[in-house]
C-alpha cells in the first residue's frame, strides 16, 4: 500500500525523500547498539512476514503496513528496519520502485517514529492501557502515511490531486483494521514481555 512505483513523483520530491531517508537511517543505526542487532532483525523479519498477510475487507482484501507497531517496538531502529523490509520487497517481489525508495521509506518511517513516541507517552501515562496506546499508535501511523503518500503525489503535480484524494480514502479501512490489530499485538506483548517494548527508545 505504501509502495509508490518509479516514474510517478517529481525529482524534488524524490530528492527530499532520499535525503530524509539517508539521514533517518544514519540516526537509526546510531541508536542501534551491535548487541541489539539480532533482536531488531528478528522483529523486522516478523514485520516482513506480517506485512504479507492479507486481511479480508468485504469482497476485497488489504495488507497491513505495520509502521505503528514497528515504531512502538523498535523506536529509532524502526528506520533501518523499514529500509531492509522495503529493499527486500522491491528485490524479491517487485513492490515499489528503486529511485523512489527513499520517499517510500520516509513515508513509512516518519509516521513510525511519531507513532512510537505517541505510544510511549500514552503508555507511560497509563501503564495498564498498553492496548489502547497501541490502537492509537497503529491508527495514527497509517493515517500519517496516507497523508504523506497523498502529499508526495500532490507535490509532484496538480494533475495528481484527485488521485491523491482517492489514495487517501483507500487507507481509511487500513487505519481502522491496523488500530485493532496493533492494539491486540501490543496488548499481548505488554502482558507477556513488557521489557520488549521498553527496550525501544
Amino acid at each position: 500500500m505504501a509502495h509508490i512505483p518509479d516514474g510517478v513523483l517529481s525529482p524534488p520530491v524524490l530528492a527530499i525523500g532520499a535525503a530524509l531517508a539517508v539521514a533517518g537511517t544514519g540516526l537509526g543505526l546510531k541508536a542501534l547498539p551491535p548487541e541489539r542487532v539480532p533482536a531488531v532483525a528478528m522483529l523486522s523479519a516478523v514485520f516482513f512476514v506480517a506485512a504479507l498477510v492479507h486481511l479480508p475487507v468485504g469482497p476485497s482484501s488489504v495488507h497491513l503496513i505495520l509502521n505503528g507497531l514497528m515504531g512502538a517496538a523498535l523506536g529509532w531502529a524502526a528506520v533501518p528496519a523499514i529500509v531492509v523490509a522495503l529493499v527486500l520487497q522491491a528485490v524479491l517481489f517487485g513492490f515499489g520502485g528503486l529511485v523512489v525508495l527513499g520517499t517510500n521509506v520516509t513515508n513509512m518511517a516518519v509516521p513510525a517514529l511519531i507513532a512510537g513516541w505517541v505510544f510511549r507517552s500514552l503508555w507511560r501515562a497509563r501503564p495498564r492501557n498498553a492496548a489502547l496506546a497501541g490502537a492509537v499508535a497503529g491508527g495514527v501511523a497509517v493515517a500519517l502515511t496516507a497523508l504523506m503518500v497523498a502529499g508526495s503525489l500532490a507535490l509532484s503535480g496538480r494533475e495528481f490531486w484527485p488521485a491523491a484524494r482517492l489514495v487517501t480514502l483507500t487507507y481509511v479501512p487500513v487505519a481502522i483494521i491496523e488500530a485493532a490489530f496493533t492494539a491486540a499485538a501490543i496488548g499481548l506483548v505488554a502482558r507477556v514481555r513488557p521489557d520488549l517494548l521498553e527496550a525501544a527508545r
Binding site: D6, M42, L55, T170, A184
Partner: protein, 247 residues
C-alpha cells in the same frame, strides 16, 4: 561468488556489485527520461536484461501485472485530470491525449524498473545481495541487520505457518470482523514474543563463539573482464541515449 559455468545466464556470471551499480544507473536513467525514444530504449533494455537473466516468464508477468491499487488509481485518473486536447468523453469527463501519454509513460517507467530489478537484483541470493551492499559501502551495521533479517525470514515464515495452522485447526476463518483483526494481532504479538526469545538464545550462542557484532566478509571476488565489458556497454548506451534525448 558468480558461478563460472558458461551455460548459466549472462547476468548470473556478473559480479553482484556490477549488477547493483548497473541497476542503479538504469533506474536513474529510466526515471529521468522523457522522450518516446528514451522510454522505448528503457523498456527494450529491461526486456533484454530479463532475457539475459532467464527470468521465468509466467512468474515475472504475474509480478508485473500485480499492480497495486495505488498504481491503478494514478493511471486511471491521470488522463482525466491532465489538461489538454480532449480525446474521448466518458460519463461527462473528458480524457486528454496528454494525460493518456503521461499515464503510459508512468506505466512504462514503473514496469521497466521492476523488470530490471527482478533481473539484476532479484536473481541474486539475498545473502549475496547483503554482502554486495556491504562491499559497495553500505554501513556495516546496516548490512548486519540486513543479513540477520534475511536469515530469520525463513525461520519466521515456518513459525507463522505453524501458528496459522493451529488457528485453522480451531476453525478460525478470516472475515471482515473485529475478531479476525484481533486474532491476527495476537498471532503477530505471539510471533514477536517467541522470536525475541529465539534471538536472545541465538545471540547468547553467538557470543559464546566470540561474536562481537562484526561480520567478516571473506569473499574477495573481483569484477572480471565480463563486468568491464558490461559496464562499458551500459555506459555507452546511456551516453547515446542522452545524445538522442538532447537532439
Amino acid at each position: 561468488m558468480a558461478p563460472d559455468n558458461a551455460r548459466c545466464p549472462l547476468v548470473a556470471r556478473l559480479d553482484p556489485r556490477t549488477r547493483l551499480l548497473s541497476l542503479a544507473a538504469f533506474a536513474l536513467a529510466t526515471v529521468a527520461t522523457h522522450t518516446a525514444s528514451g522510454l522505448g530504449a528503457a523498456l527494450a533494455a529491461a526486456v533484454l536484461l530479463a532475457l539475459c537473466a532467464s527470468l521465468p516468464l509466467r512468474a515475472t508477468l504475474v509480478r508485473l501485472l500485480g499492480l497495486e491499487g495505488f498504481m491503478a488509481v494514478v493511471l486511471v485518473t491521470l488522463p482525466f485530470t491532465t489538461p489538454g486536447a480532449p480525446l474521448v468523453e466518458i460519463l461527462g469527463f473528458s480524457a486528454s491525449a496528454e494525460g493518456l501519454r503521461a499515464a503510459v509513460t508512468i506505466a512504462i517507467k514503473a514496469n521497466a524498473v521492476v523488470l530490471a530489478t527482478l533481473a539484476l537484483a532479484g536473481s541474486l541470493e539475498t545473502v549475496v545481495l547483503g554482502h554486495a551492499l556491504g562491499r559497495l559501502g553500505c554501513p556495516e551495521r546496516f548490512v548486519a541487520l540486513f543479513l540477520f533479517t534475511v536469515r530469520y525470514l525463513g525461520v519466521l515464515e515456518a513459525e507463522y505457518r505453524r501458528l496459522r495452522l493451529a488457528m485453522r485447526a480451531r476453525a478460525f476463518r478470516p472475515a471482515t470482523s473485529f475478531h479476525t483483526w484481533r486474532s491476527f494481532g495476537h498471532l503477530i504479538g505471539m510471533l514477536m514474543v517467541t522470536s525475541i526469545e529465539r534471538s536472545e538464545r541465538i545471540h547468547a550462542a553467538m557470543r559464546c563463539r566470540g561474536f562481537t557484532g562484526r561480520f567478516h566478509f571473506d569473499d574477495d571476488t573481483r569484477p572480471g573482464r565480463l563486468d568491464l565489458g558490461f559496464g562499458v556497454a551500459q555506459a555507452t548506451a546511456l551516453v547515446l541515449l542522452t545524445v538522442v534525448e538532447r537532439a
